[in-house]
Amino acid sequence: MNFPSLLAGSLWPLALIQAVTLLAVAPLFAGFSRVMRARMHNRRGPGVLQEYRDIAKLLQRQSVAPAAAGMAFRSMPYLLTGGLLVIATALPMVTLMSPMGAAGDLITVIYLFAVVRFVFAIAGLDTGSTFTGIGASREAVLGVLVEPILLLGLWMAALVAGSTSLGAIAARVLHWPLSSSLTLTLAGLACAFATYIEMGKLPFDMAEAEQELQEGPLTEYSGAALGVLKIGISLKQLVVLQLFLGLFFPFGLVENLAPLALLTAVVVCLLKLLIAVFMVALIENSVARLRFLKTSRTTWAGFGLAFLALVSWLVAG
């Protein structure tokens, strides 16, 4: 593959379109998972579009912040959402190639997630509130626990593909190499585990734990800022999910941009996301939250999976 030509390709409008589309549908999927939760609790909750109504209402309200809060607190919702949009441009969503090759590399993506985590954490420390501070600390700790799993899982897939670029991994997984089946399966499981933790769902909703931390770093947000933050957080869930789906379930991604194929790819992509959100909702509503200091024992399981992927790759040699 010739990298400069990959970067100068004509896919960049698609990159922006897919990022904005993901942003637009993020509340829809959040609404869907909300409906699922109500159904599983045997109650009839609000409709799928409730998230949009909430956000629209919040965006018209005043933002109130404690006196100690400064620039970091004010700008975080925009920086968080913006950072996630940058990642969204680089994901293989409908095309097999990453539309933004300049950022479509697994190391770049992992470090872009770190940028998002950083702005989230320092905004939590900027308010002088207890809850936001603890939430910030937990967010950072979760990063320490998840990053090794995510990196090793993706690294194994990249080794099978022979390249760290997202497009190359997706292409390799699509033409599933039989000799590397075990490695890819284990790596996929490890990444699924890491993805689930990154989505911040039960039993891993550590930073924003509703019951004890009152939404952690989000505690002090209100009004328009909270509205933007709500879109940002549902976008984060979709972005990490799509990163996983795009790499390990690349079925339905197109190589050329024929209109009909593109349309099918969009439908398949949304369908895959829907199924994934459905399964995540199933898990989320059937477990209880973990104790925070015991999380590290659970995350060892994910790292173990990734390590087994490494072992199987070494053996298959």
Partner: protein, 634 residues
């Protein structure tokens, strides 16, 4: 005298050395006249640093003979690309440290000014000479002199901690020198010369080579602070003046690394595989433990010193990768890893100096070293805060800053290592990458802690609430360094080829194409730092636009009152401290934190610090420095 003004690299370097020494002595003589003496120290040192920068750039562009005898001074210099690179990395930071020193020296008492100014200038001169030395005798002499200058800057605070730090530094420096003397004595015994050019072409038996390498690794490792040889590093960075601490990190310890590169890759010929693997293991250990211990520190400068250790580990990952690449005959791995290591060495100098100088400003304006007592500094010292934010983000390798650019290359070289055909490399490659990622996550948590606790929220003490912006020269030095961090990150595709040329010249490998048209790439992937920068700046506009469009009749933002505390009155004690922020990791990594107390035998430490040894070493250091100065000028 006219030979000094020709503008040739050799004469520029001589000029720099002379200016450093003369301005040091000159400032020392007139130390009682505050302004004049500070200006002589600072401006002299800036001029000298500029001379070195010009000379280094000339050498990097290939406009110099490799072997040169410096005019006027009896010193044989080797002007290779590697030496020029380390000279450049050191003198850029030295320039900014001197700018900072101009303002700092006017604010201290005369005796402190005299001593710090003189020692700092001598330190820079000695390190510059060490970086371009052409023989082992010169190298060891100059490193010894630099270490002694460092010692005198550490002990001048004259409290228990500083004295202990000084003693630690003195003892490890002497042991380091001893190891180096033994290493080069072995080579001298086998080849009959200590001149690098002769050693490079001499043939050694594998036994001699390995013994030399181990001794040199220990010796240079003590200077570079490889864990477990790092005992002198943390407290000495906190006890010395901030700009001296910055020089320890960006120059003194780097000379140790360059020494390892020289011995491991240059002088002894092709390294066997186990050297490279050993360096890689030491590197990942240094990076991880450094990052982990940094998280538990409250003293900003001690924290930064631990992060220096972490970065030393990251640089060594590149060096070890290059050695492994040469041993396995994988030229792409070797040149990519060395390129990454050297680029990170340069970048680390930039952001760490900015951080130390920033920490020094906070300390000067508030008198506080402990960040638990700070808070809210961003409003009072906005320029310092902004510059430190950028430098901190570089340190955690966040895109598109310079730390990311070099770590990205390092990950790519580890990927090359993973996909080679040797079992041990295939096993270690992924695990080293995981180690690096874990270190990165720890660094992220640490910078969130430093920035959040020091600069954000409300002040936790009266001194912090009364802080005022630092003098302009000081602020300027940090801001300029932060700008350099941004430039070196965003413009990395244009800078990387320069470093690539250095790596290639050292390894004699074919030229590796690593950057073009604003894109840095390896054989397996590509990244465009300018593009990522544009996206990161542009994308936050999308949510901002949405919020602006749907504004409606919304009232303007309001900031008032205390944070919510479940309906109770808010009190400052409720706020999460630096300790509380890092507490979960203290629990999760408890066995590794206990390691520190297990690995330090209490009886030995208390025996070392019983009092008389410190005084004795101080006198010894003074005598040694005097002797060395006489020897150097003779």
């Amino acid at each position: 005298m006219t030979t000094l003004l020709t503008g040739e690299p050799a004469s520029l370097l001589t000029l720099a050395l002379l200016v450093w020494v003369l301005s040091g002595v000159g400032g020392w003589v007139v130390a009682v006249i505050t302004k004049v003496s500070s200006l002589i120290f600072g401006a002299g040192s800036m001029v000298a640093a500029l001379c070195v920068i010009v000379a280094a750039i000339q050498i990097l562009q290939g406009r110099a003979t490799v072997q040169a005898v410096l005019p006027v001074l009896p010193f044989n210099a080797e002007l290779t690309a590697l030496n020029a690179l380390i000279l450049l990395a050191m003198s850029v930071t030295a320039l900014m440290c001197s700018l900072y020193a101009c303002a700092w020296l006017t604010n201290v008492c005369a005796s402190k000014r005299a001593r710090t100014g003189l020692m700092c200038n001598l330190l820079m001169a000695a390190l510059t000479a060490a970086a371009m030395s052409a023989s082992a005798v010169e190298l060891i002499l100059m490193m010894e002199m630099a270490a002694l200058c460092a010692y005198f800057m550490i002990v001048q605070a004259d409290d228990v901690k500083s004295r202990r730090a000084g003693l630690n530094q003195f003892l490890s420096g002497r042991i380091g020198t001893l190891c180096l003397i033994l290493a080069f004595a072995l080579l001298h015994h086998a080849s009959g010369s200590v001149n690098f050019e002769v050693l490079r072409h001499a043939a050694f038996t594998p036994g001699i080579k390995s013994a030399t390498f181990l001794l040199a690794l220990a010796g240079f490792g003590l200077y570079a602070g490889i864990i477990p040889l790092h005992a002198w590093v943390p407290q000495s960075h906190s006890s010395a003046p901030a700009h001296a601490a910055a020089l320890f990190s960006s120059a003194l310890m780097k000379v140790g690394i360059i020494g390892i590169v020289k011995v491991g890759l240059d002088l002894l010929g092709a390294p066997p595989l186990w050297w490279g693997l050993m360096v890689l293991l030491l590197a990942v250990l240094t990076a991880f433990i450094g990052g982990l211990y940094a998280l538990m520190e409250h003293d900003i400068r001690r924290l930064l010193a631990y992060h220096t250790l972490e970065n030393i580990g990251i640089i060594l990952l590149g060096v070890g990768g290059a050695m492994t690449g040469v041993a396995l005959n994988l030229p792409v791995l070797a040149s990519l890893a060395l390129l990454a290591g050297l680029f990170h060495l340069f970048n680390h100098g930039l952001f760490k100096t900015a951080l130390f100088l920033g920490a020094g400003q906070i300390e000067m304006q508030t008198g506080i070293k402990d960040m638990e007592k700070l808070g809210g500094i961003a409003r009072l010292m906005p320029w310092t805060a902004g510059a430190m934010l950028i430098a901190l983000m570089s340190m955690a390798a966040l895109p598109p800053l310079n730390g990311f650019a070099s770590e990205w290359l390092l990950y790519q070289s580890l990927f090359q290592l993973s996909s080679s055909h040797v079992f041990i490399a295939r096993l270690m490659g992924p695990l080293l990458a995981v180690g690096l990622a874990l270190t990165g996550a720890l660094a992220l948590m640490c910078i969130a802690k430093v920035f959040g606790v020091t600069f954000l929220g409300t002040p936790r003490s009266q001194a912090a609430a009364d802080a005022t912006p630092a003098p302009r020269a000081m602020t300027l030095s940090t801001v300029l360094l932060a700008l350099l961090c941004v430039t070196s990150g965003v413009a990395s595709p244009w800078i990387i080829p320069q470093f690539s040329a250095v790596a290639v010249s050292l390894l004699n490998t074919p030229v590796l194409l690593t950057a073009q048209h604003g894109v840095a790439f390896s054989p397996t992937s590509a990244v465009s730092a300018p593009m990522v920068a544009i996206l990161l700046l542009g994308m936050p506009l999308v949510p901002w636009l949405i919020a602006a469009v749907l504004r409606g009749a919304r009232l303007p933002n309001r900031s008032r009152g205390d944070a919510w505390a479940c309906g109770y009155a808010h009190s400052a004690d409720m706020v999460v401290t630096a300790t509380g922020f890092a507490q979960p990791l203290r629990v999760m990594f408890a066995p590794l934190y206990r390691l520190r107390s297990h690995a330090t035998p209490v009886s030995l430490v208390s025996a070392l610090h019983r009092g008389w040894l410190g005084v004795f070493c101080r006198r010894l250091a003074l005598i040694e420095l005097a002797v060395l100065l006489v020897v150097a000028f003779a």
